[in-house]
Symmetry: C2
Amino acid sequence: MFDFRPVGYVIGLLLVALGATMLIPWAVDIAWDTGGGGTFAVSAAITILFGGSLALASANSRTPGLNLQQAFLLTVMSWLALPVFAALPFWFGAPQATYTDAFFEAMSGMTTTGSTVFSNLDELPMGTLLWRGMMQWFGGVGIIVVAMAFLPTLKVGGMQLFRSEGFDTLGKVLPRAGEIAGSISIIYLVLTVACILAYTLVGMEFFDALVLSLTTISTGGFTNTDASFGAFQGAPEYVASMFMLLASLPFIRYVQMMRGSSQPLFRDSQVRAFLVTALSLILLMTFYRMLYNGEGSEESFREALFNVTSILSGTGYISVDYQLWGPFPVVLFFMLGLVGGCAGSTCCSIKIFRFQLLFISIKQQIKRIHSPHGIFAARYAGRPVGDDVMSSVMAFFVMFMLTLGVLSVILTLLGLDFITAVSGAATALANVGPGLGPEIGPSGNFGGLSDPVKWVLSAAMLLGRLELISVYILFTVGFWRG
Amino acid sequence: MFDFRPVGYVIGLLLVALGATMLIPWAVDIAWDTGGGGTFAVSAAITILFGGSLALASANSRTPGLNLQQAFLLTVMSWLALPVFAALPFWFGAPQATYTDAFFEAMSGMTTTGSTVFSNLDELPMGTLLWRGMMQWFGGVGIIVVAMAFLPTLKVGGMQLFRSEGFDTLGKVLPRAGEIAGSISIIYLVLTVACILAYTLVGMEFFDALVLSLTTISTGGFTNTDASFGAFQGAPEYVASMFMLLASLPFIRYVQMMRGSSQPLFRDSQVRAFLVTALSLILLMTFYRMLYNGEGSEESFREALFNVTSILSGTGYISVDYQLWGPFPVVLFFMLGLVGGCAGSTCCSIKIFRFQLLFISIKQQIKRIHSPHGIFAARYAGRPVGDDVMSSVMAFFVMFMLTLGVLSVILTLLGLDFITAVSGAATALANVGPGLGPEIGPSGNFGGLSDPVKWVLSAAMLLGRLELISVYILFTVGFWRG
């Protein structure tokens, strides 16, 4: 029999913690009397009550630690259970959203996607805006812990490549997760505080600086106005770009730097590949803007820097509607979203290390054709890469593309047009934020979509956030047979 | 030093043969006095003269047979040289096209793509229309020979899977190619004659039946009117669908049937997968049409059967503008084009056996997660599949997707909008024919595109037809070092 108790126990505790954090926006609403009312208190009570009961009911499991099945189930169920409850304040209170909208917003938050269904954001109570930022912030740190503690051991999509890094003491999963969470949280907090300071230094009001820092460091993308980052053109764009780039790098490197290793960041092949990719694309877009749109060089560079970084890192802030720049930027931004940042950061999507490995694999194929009897061991970052890692990376890529195709078809069956369906599926699966086209594009909003579409997109966000296979595996017979 | 002579010799002979076949449309133009003039005679003379000189100059090579490099170079150069000369009649004569247009049409013909830049087709001389059909017919049989004789030995994109089939006597490449060409040509001719008879039986005029048979059996897609297959709605659609399906199956199975093996066709895993896929999609589309568009059941079935088969097989005939059916068919038809038929047929695109192997690989990944220490040998059609085959199939898929992405970006830089760029790149790379959108969609034409766009699309057709890697490998340093 499958023992759900260890899973229920951890999820119960996570819900209690989530409920407790709801008291922060509650306090904010009370302190500044911004009209939020007791929404957050009620939501907190329900969440803590439910989580506490679940934890109590699931305690006393005879098996200490988690086995493979339980680790997968915990990963998926926690990313499902937290949005279910995180949605409550939006449902009970301020935007008075339907539960579908509230859940979409919470899933978009916890997965750090950043697509929003709410409009007139600046009329929402401060507590609600803060809660949107907090969800992304928790989701961001949560995914780093999962990506570093769980996925490598679970061999998901080539993440086993990072098994021997830093924390590979091969202990039980949960204690390691705790250790990782500790070190990472400090870095995460330091970066967030630095970001708040930087935003206020360039003239942002404190509340905006706070919420935007929460969504910058988590590469989430929620903002406090319908104009996204359009309200902060100029210096804040540079600050945001810098911190989005920092948040796209593997956090383990920061931990190592903190512990005294010299320059581990720039020796990391993934980091170099990401920065070179980002820089090339930013320069390409700058020159395109100067040549085709005749914009000034500072504006061209700044807008290219900000928007390319935002989409590449999967943050999803927008400072201008880049759809007006012409068809080249439109297609490029679509593809940027499918690239993503480094593994072990808050970024989602296919990720830069997988592209590196895919190119290595193609090179190997070509070498094998040149010399049919030669043996070519793939090497990544100086170390040999096993065939199992290679094939799981390639299988991930295939799964990603096929899932994108199937989601697009489903979305058209639900009535979306070609561009909205394909870009909607892509932006949800890659946890980016904006899609393309007039409805869900940079100047649009997901609020006008039908309920079934919102549920499909929510499912896509979850799938993408957990590297697809963690979710798919729950639907296989072999998984439940042990 | 690289010895070009064996390559030059074979290409020379192929050009002489091509030139000789130009005398057929010349004879047709003279016999029916359709206004073609001496265009074809002049083109034939130039082609034969050039080809003959090349063959003579390259003869007396000391090395008999071809080595690996020469086999690749021959494959790519022949698919480049033949369109260069096959384009001449369009340039000198009837449509008085620019050389860019003439070359595009010839490349679209020889690669069996079927995108056309010419309009007012019914005003063209019969010889010209016949030549368009003949190009596709030659291109079709040519690719079967290449796919069976060259690609498996060259280990291109997992085609080595078919090495042990039928003709694997491991002799020299050229004699084997000759043997294969012989057996295949008989089947190809029999199918074509059967198709002509069937088309005339359902009321088509002989000339239409002839040209359409040439482009049906080659899954090419050129027709004699701007309305594509719209002029032949009804019974001819059923005939065309049957023969397009037959032409999508591996021709080696027909050879085996001809030699007395019983039922090799339906024991072939690839054939079964293709037919099940086709049938499911046809039924799905039929029900969609009945439900959403409220069409009668016969019309719904016939239009679904014909258009799904046409796009899935990469033929590219169109009987109605399916873009008017709604967004679901638009996305589905886009993806259908990326599936394709069986290896060893005239179909292009990713092909059904690769999808089968990709799914097998994903299953393996999941099994490996279930039981980390188990060993799971992949099996396809009852036989074990080597890791090298698996990884070359996956590398092919990755290359296909990345190439599609890069081509789309280039096309937008040349001024195309999102849908035209992405669907144009896809339809050219997969050798399908029609794209999406108002310009190159089912009711459109490629004639209005700019010259640079036409050259990029021509290159894409060549790339796709030769399974990408045959072309890419020529651009690697290692290839020329031997």
